[in-house]
């Protein structure tokens, strides 16, 4: 009886709490006013964002991922303290990039619960729930966009949503492709010259012909154009698939958002590898005897330069032909003017999983230079004029053999973005060092249920490794020399965040956020231990006159997939996701 009474009172109390919480959310005019006061994001704001805002994935169109804020600096970073946190839906992945505009933070939970939060206090302002269909696992999407009065969100079921940034009300919902055929988004859009540009992913077994970029009207969501990431037609590009018909070509996923060159009105983005990975099984090997065909597999592992207004593909540059090891050249594109052979060249700089930094001329795609970073045995040599790579034949996976390749499939660098500081003119790259014993395996366990890319990568340390798997590397891009490198056992699992305060922030698999001196690489601050690993894109912003550092914790595979070589780094079973925000008190 006593137990029942206690239970009853608990239920009552819980019910009251829920009601109170709901009412509190509805009755916080000051808080809601904050969201309603956010200003309209214009083209000019995206071109020159306020220092205190983080308006798009890498903050600026040039993809630098740099915050000019300097309240938190080398002298006071030691006083950095947690000021608020917010629990997100646990489970799945998020790899989240929060956006901040006029003191409001926007986040996307793995369940596709979109939330606006007071960026100074952590108070919830509004939320919008996009319902994922049965069969789509809740997982996050790496980035969002904000433009006009709308927040733009891509979804795992291949929709693009426009949500009013002030109220959280849905403005439009555009389904771009059929999730039942496998389509879906893992990264979000970028708005360039008033056009929303979105890359499609999950173009595998059920969906031949590859992925695509699409351009959309920001007011309605209507699709304006589409650029296929697998070349077609009777052209040198279309004939680069070894004679395999378009209906049997797979992959070329557009799974990372791009950058935008305002001056040229050109959108730059990367494309992933062919599917399945092994060339002996995807039709690209053995080489077709007909000279009409090549087996380069365009536009995989390339930079595409697309006019956002017309959707016309202006040029492309392919970094890796016939990729047979899952070595995406899909990541961020940094727009930089750099000295090359005594001249200032307009470049796009990117780095694939091989960890080879490469620059091309962003006006025409001409290859300019490269710099190697992590240990790798895939590329034997690089043509100094064209950038064409000679591949080590011993690493090409073969049926019935085990091959050894470095890096392993998550890459010497993965989706965690590199960044650039205009203060130091350095590139900051999170890397890991590991290799793989690679074997091919069939993927036909059920007629419907498949999985994997026909290869298993058993990850092992680099031979003669010092045991320090994770690194942060700083490279002077003016002369491509190493500035500094920080090495530790635990893999580095976030993007780097350089700031105007002379700091570089980065998170790790063993649940720490670190701050380095951007010039020397000296470790200046280590956070308390978080509840989970940090696998996301840290940002910095200003709210109510104060600078903050924000990062989202969650375990999200990528560089974290290292159980075989870091078995002692334990993480909680339910994979908690949280936003953590720090400031100097």
């Amino acid at each position: 009886m006593i137990a029942q009474a206690l239970l009853r009172s608990t239920i009552l109390a819980t019910s009251l709490t829920v009601v109170t919480a709901t009412m509190a959310l509805a009755q916080t005019p000051a808080a809601n006013n904050l969201a309603s006061r956010v200003t309209t994001v214009t083209d000019d704001m995206l071109k020159n964002p306020p220092d205190g805002d983080w308006l798009q994935w890498r903050r600026t169109y040039d993809g630098w991922g740099y915050s000019p804020l300097d309240q938190i600096n080398k002298s006071n970073v030691k006083n950095l303290k947690l000021v608020w946190s917010w629990g997100m839906t646990p489970g799945g992945t998020t790899q989240e990039t929060p956006l901040v505009h006029d003191g409001v933070m926007y986040i996307q939970n793995s369940t596709h619960l979109i939330q606006a939060i007071n960026a100074a206090t952590g108070q919830l302002l509004w939320q919008y729930q996009h319902r994922l269909p049965e069969g789509v696992l809740p997982n996050g999407v790496r980035n969002k966009a904000i433009y006009g009065d709308n927040l733009y969100v891509a979804t795992r079921d291949a929709h693009i949503l426009a949500i009013n940034a002030k109220t959280g009300k849905l403005v439009w919902d555009q389904q771009v492709a059929d999730v039942k055929k496998g389509w879906g988004y893992t990264s979000g859009p970028l708005v360039a010259n008033g056009v929303l540009i979105q890359g499609m992913t999950n173009c595998s077994n059920a969906q031949p012909g590859g992925c695509f970029f699409s351009g959309h009207d920001t007011k309605t969501g209507k699709e304006l154009w589409r650029v296929n990431t697998i070349a077609r037609g009777d052209t040198p590009e279309g004939n680069s698939w070894n004679g395999v018909p378009v209906e049997a070509r797979y992959g070329a996923s557009a799974w990372i958002a791009g950058s935008y060159d305002v001056e040229q009105n050109l959108f730059f983005a990367g494309v992933g590898q062919p599917y399945p990975w092994p060339a002996v099984l995807n039709g690209l090997l053995p080489k077709n005897a007909d000279a009409k065909y090549t087996n380069n597999a365009l536009y995989t592992d390339s930079t595409l330069a697309i006019d956002p207004t017309s959707g016309k593909l202006k040029w492309y540059h392919q970094y890796l032909q016939n990729d047979t090891l899952d070595l995406d050249y899909v990541y961020e594109r940094l727009i930089l003017d750099l000295p090359v052979n005594g001249q200032t060249r307009k470049t796009v700089v990117t780095t694939g999983k091989l960890g080879i930094i490469e620059a091309i001329d962003r006006t025409n795609g001409e290859w300019l230079w490269h710099k190697e970073t992590v240990p790798q045995n895939v590329v034997q040599s690089i043509d100094p004029k064209t950038g064409a790579k000679t591949i080590n034949p011993a690493v090409i996976p073969q049926i019935g053999q085990t091959t050894f390749n470095c890096p392993a499939d998550p890459g010497g660098r993965a989706w965690q973005a590199t960044s650039y500081s205009p203060k130091t003119r350095m590139l900051y790259m999170p890397t890991v060092e590991f290799c793989s014993n690679t074997v091919l395996n069939p993927l036909d366990p059920g007629q419907v249920y498949t999985g994997g890319g026909l290869a298993t990568y058993n990850r092992v340390p680099v031979p003669n490794s010092d045991g320090k798997i994770g690194q942060v590397r700083a490279v002077k891009l003016d002369d491509r020399t190493d500035a500094w490198m920080y090495r530790q056992y635990a893999p580095v699992t976030t993007s780097t965040l350089p700031t105007g305060g002379g700091l570089v922030f980065v998170g790790t698999l063993d649940r720490k956020l670190l701050a380095f001196d951007d010039t020397t690489g000296q470790l200046l601050w280590t956070s308390p231990t978080f509840p989970n690993s940090i696998e996301s894109f840290p940002i910095s912003y200003m709210a109510d006159g104060k600078q903050y550092i924000a990062v989202v914790t969650n375990w999200s595979s990528g560089l974290g997939r290292l159980k075989l070589i870091t078995p002692d780094i334990a993480l909680p079973a339910h994979n908690p996701h949280e936003v953590y925000v720090f400031a100097v008190e």
Partner: protein
């Protein structure tokens, strides 16, 4: 009643009581999933309780698998052999292709075994356990070319449409690579059996390599496929795989019981009778 039935009934009763003991340990294991790649993700996993009725044989079938009716009959036979109440769950998903990890959530919530999985050594992640095979199924080379009697009759340079990544495709690709370049065939990897057969129908290929049940099912609904005929795999040997049930790895007691039931049902001809029934319906060889 045969001795076999008596033994199975005793085993079934024993199973029912032992499941009650085994259950909490399984639930405990679910609370401590290994992290990294070994354990897939099921949203809300921490809210999923353990099974409450240990007298049931909970099995799943998937109508997207052309062999699912036969799989269901086998599961019903296994349930009868174990003296358990069959509890059938028809997976309602309509996605064309799904990742194997989707089954993790289904196995936590809906059933103990999902029928219809090929027994491929090294082809499954560590969280998966498989029963022994209850039937054998082949891949088929099919064609519309009247002059082809076997794969070996296909002239070099003529394309083959293979459902990509299957064991048969891997075997074919391996053999093809062993040939001199001038003797090879182009092999085009399609995403599904239907796509491979459409490639054959469109003239993109002269031969298709597909899963027998898919071919038989599509012959009933697609006139072009109905006109295709099976040719011998020579000079390759036939690619035939055992088909069994997929379970959570830790569910070892039930898996052993199912294996014993399959062995008994094989011995007394029950499984052969089920296979013959469906083969007659499909117009092909028994699975």
């Amino acid at each position: 009643m045969s001795v076999f039935r008596v033994v199975l009934r005793a085993a079934g009763l024993c199973l029912a009581s032992l499941l009650a003991v085994a259950g909490p340990r399984e639930a405990h294991a679910q609370l401590e999933p290994e992290f990294y790649n070994d354990q897939p993700y099921a949203y809300g996993e921490w809210t999923m309780g353990r099974r409450v009725d240990d007298s049931q044989f909970r099995y799943c079938v998937d109508p997207r698998d052309p062999g699912f009716e036969q799989d269901g009959d086998v599961a019903e036979a296994i349930a009868r052999a174990l003296l358990l109440q069959p509890q059938r769950y028809v997976i309602p998903n309509t996605f064309e292709v799904e990742d194997l990890t989707r089954l993790y959530s289904i196995l936590l919530q809906q059933c103990d075994v999902v029928m219809g999985f090929k027994l491929i050594p090294g082809g499954y992640p560590p969280w998966v356990g498989l029963t022994r095979a209850y039937t054998q199924v082949s891949y088929l080379f099919v064609t519309a070319k009247p002059d082809l009697r076997s794969l070996g009759d296909l002239p070099p340079g003529r394309p083959i449409a293979a459902t990509g990544g299957t064991s048969a495709h891997v075997r074919l690709a391996s053999y093809n690579l062993s040939l001199a370049p001038a003797k090879r065939w182009p092999i085009f990897p399609y995403g599904t059996d239907q796509m491979a057969l459409e490639g054959l129908a469109s003239g993109a290929a002269d031969v298709a390599l597909v899963w027998d049940p898919s071919f038989r099912a599509l012959q009933k609904t697609n006139a072009a496929v109905a006109s295709f005929r099976v040719i011998a795999p020579d000079p390759l040997p036939p690619t035939t795989l055992g088909v069994g049930g997929l379970m959570l790895r830790q569910n070892t007691f039930l898996r052993n019981a199912i294996d014993q039931a399959i062995a008994a049902l094989t011995s007394d001809g029950s499984l052969a009778a089920i296979a013959a029934k469906f083969a007659a319906q499909a117009g092909g060889k028994p699975r």
